[in-house]
């Protein structure tokens, strides 16, 4: 097995005390970020990214990926103990997690959440280990037209599967593309949309946008709800942990279903948040305990947590193999690759074996380590939430400002961050999705580049996107995704009409 050999090689890369140390730092920071509202995976990684500029890319990605795993684990703690989702993907965990805590079963809920997170992640990592080299090998045959088609598919999937208003998805996405285009056009040297301003020459940095949209925007919205933490305290004892573990094998169907849903939503750019909701919904419908969902059912914690963690992990598969991130946090990691001078995409597997397999190996180790870290330190992190929000909020905002400044050592970026903060608040209030904007901002230049190259090859004819079965079928799927809201609307109407006719016949 070639994949296993490469994985073994990856563990060799990991066998460096410095990498292990940064992994633990990343995990601890990640859980902290996951616990604190306003600091999430995406902007937590964005804030800490500048600190890694001087590290080797391998060490840097291991630390940043560990932050992501930590944040995935940490989100569950606040959901269960405080009924406050620390992360958007743990909203579904509150439905049954908090009722369990109120019934005095916080220990069982937390153990189930962590364990199922761990299982979901493990499932996804195994998938990545075996599937990623295959996808990367396949993608080596891609030309610019195929790459553009895959990127188009990514963006069309948002429209088809996003759940938000398709018009709003497109608006948000196009805003991302437009912002990505600002500045010097590297192909022709023209200045685009700078309007004579030297500040705009550099363009909009996606890191600043992420910190503003997710960090500042989130804090503003949290404040509106007049947040006060009133929660249960918890300390995990070995006895109750083992007791919960005994119940877990009985839920293997839910675990498996949620892992599959999570992996699917992670690879396609659905992301962890819709994955957790979808998995919760499916579990409620198909589980024999479905009626108890919402009243404190362990399975209702297991389903969303498994899916969220599987999705979060699986999101790295398209990022590594195709250069297309499956979630906003993966998008930030992808931006990191570009900053460290690595070209994301299939060549990574050929040219940067240490990097790729070191990262994949670290996913195994970090998830095991993270699992035990959260199991043992829950009381510590729960205690952090007892610090009043009026102290935590300004600290988070100061850290956001510092993070925005360090990206380019430019003071104007802090102002731009505030602008994105207001935008993020408006977007959340009016249900414009943020993920398409971030992905378009990160991928904008790449998508435009591959589009231009393809158009050059074909002398400006769009027919290149239908020139062979590969690119043609990707385009077909993309177009179906784009038209999906329309198709499902038509199907719905047809169904209603049929039902109507049946009634009339009766």
């Amino acid at each position: 097995m070639e994949a296993l050999e490469s994985l073994y090689h990856g563990f060799g890369v990991l066998n460096d005390p410095q990498n292990i140390m940064y992994m633990f730092i990343g995990l601890a920071l990640g859980v902290l970020i996951g616990v604190l509202p306003g600091l999430g995976g995406a902007n937590g990684v964005a804030i800490l990214l500048p600190l890694t500029f001087s590290m080797s890319p391998t060490t840097a990605i291991i630390m940043l990926a560990s932050i992501y795993w930590g944040a995935l684990f940490g989100g569950a703690i606040t959901s269960i103990l405080f009924n406050i989702p620390g992360e958007p993907w743990s909203v579904a965990t509150t439905f049954d997690g908090y009722p369990l805590a109120q019934k005095g079963q916080a220990e069982a809920a937390l153990t189930a959440a962590f364990t199922s997170s761990f299982i979901g992640a493990l499932f996804a990592v195994i998938l990545i280990t075996f599937l990623a080299p295959v996808v990367a090998g396949f993608a080596l045959k891609f030309g610019p037209a195929e790459f553009f088609a895959v990127q188009l598919l990514t963006f069309c999937s948002f429209v088809g599967m996003g759940g938000a208003s398709p018009f709003k998805v497109v608006t948000s996405m196009m805003l991302g593309f437009a912002l990505a285009a600002v500045g010097l056009d590297s192909v022709t040297g023209d200045l685009r949309m700078t309007f004579g301003s030297t500040e705009l020459l550099r363009g909009f940095d996606f890191l600043i946008a992420v910190i503003g949209l997710f960090g500042v925007g989130e804090i503003l919205q949290t404040m509106e709800e007049g947040l006060a933490f009133r929660g249960k305290s918890a300390r995990l004892h070995l006895g109750s942990v083992v007791q919960t573990w005994r119940k877990m094998p009985g839920m293997w169907v839910t675990l498996f279903r949620s892992s599959v849903v999570g992996c699917w939503m992670g690879i396609t750019p659905g992301g962890a948040t819709p994955a957790s909701f979808m998995s919760y919904g499916l579990a409620r419908r198909f589980s024999k305990n479905g009626r108890n969902f919402g009243k404190g059912e362990i399975e209702g914690v297991v389903a969303p947590e498994t899916a969220a963690h599987a999705a979060g992990t699986a999101a790295l598969l398209p990022m590594l193999t195709l250069g297309i991130p499956g979630s906003p946090t993966a998008a930030v990691l992808l931006g990191g690759l570009l900053i460290w001078g690595l070209q994301p995409g299939p060549m990574l597997f050929v040219e940067q074996r240490d990097f790729v397999w070191g990262l994949i190996a670290s996913m195994y180790v970090a998830n095991v380590a993270g699992f035990f870290l959260v199991l043992t330190t829950v009381p510590l992190f729960a205690a952090i939430l007892r610090v009043p929000f009026s102290i935590i909020a300004p600290i988070i905002l100061v850290i956001c400002a510092i993070g925005a400044y360090t990206v380019n050592s430019a003071l104007s970026d802090v102002g731009i961050m505030m602008f994105f903060g207001v935008l993020g608040y408006l977007f959340k209030k009016l249900h414009y999705p943020l993920a398409p904007l971030v992905l378009a901002l990160v991928l904008g230049d790449m998508a435009e580049g591959s589009f231009r190259q393809a158009m050059l090859l074909s002398q400006g004819s769009l027919s290149i996107f239908w020139s062979n079965w590969l690119v043609g079928s990707i385009m077909m799927v993309a177009m179906t995704m784009l038209a999906w809201p329309l198709i499902s609307w038509a199907l719905e109407r047809a169904k209603l009409k049929r039902e109507h006719e049946v009634v009339e016949l009766d």
Binding site: F177, M193, L220, S390, I395, I402
Partner: protein
């Protein structure tokens, strides 16, 4: 969201907010299209011109925002929920305005001194802590940040006259 249930005073309706934002997006889209057309949005001698891609981005943005606009114009104003309650909005401003001042102060005072002021002010204004408590707390936190970034991570951040006087 809490908008619907809260007995909070009305500000603007969701419908008005939606329409305003959609119009703003359409205006941005026009600017994008205008500037892209200016630098050339057609087929040049060396492939697509610089404005080619952004022009169609602008066009798609205009179309999608226009559709959002129409879908909300059709809805009746009466059914529309409140966008944000007055007291809620005041809470948001209470956080936002001091933060703007903090960001503006960074250039003059350096990030640490302004952070100390900001943290102390925030705790007093929103947290209701006594000034005697909030000022030392802000100072200690700012010193911790200074240690973390300047000493531990060696990331240079903007410093002001206070740091200069202390010899950093």
């Amino acid at each position: 969201m809490t908008d619907s249930q809260s007995p909070d005073q009305k500000t603007v309706s969701v419908r008005t907010a939606e329409i305003t934002v959609a119009i703003l997006f359409m205006m941005v889209a026009v600017v994008v299209m205008y500037d892209s057309w200016r630098i050339g949005a057609q087929w040049g001698d060396f492939g697509p011109q610089s404005g080619f891609f952004p022009f169609y981005v602008g066009l798609a943005m205009f179309a999608s925002s226009a559709l959002t606009l129409f879908s909300h114009i059709q809805k009746s104003e009466r059914d529309s929920l409140n966008f944000v309650g007055k007291s809620q909005f005041w809470l948001v401003l209470k956080v936002f305005l001091p933060t703007v001042v903090f960001v503006a102060l960074i250039g003059q005072l350096g990030i640490y001194f302004s952070a100390a002021i900001y943290l102390a002010f925030f705790m007093w204004w929103i947290g209701g802590y006594q000034i005697q408590k909030s000022i030392p707390a802000g100072a200690v936190l700012a010193c911790f940040l200074f240690w973390l970034f300047e000493q531990a991570f060696k990331v240079p951040l903007p410093k002001g006259p206070l740091e200069a006087a202390l010899g950093f």
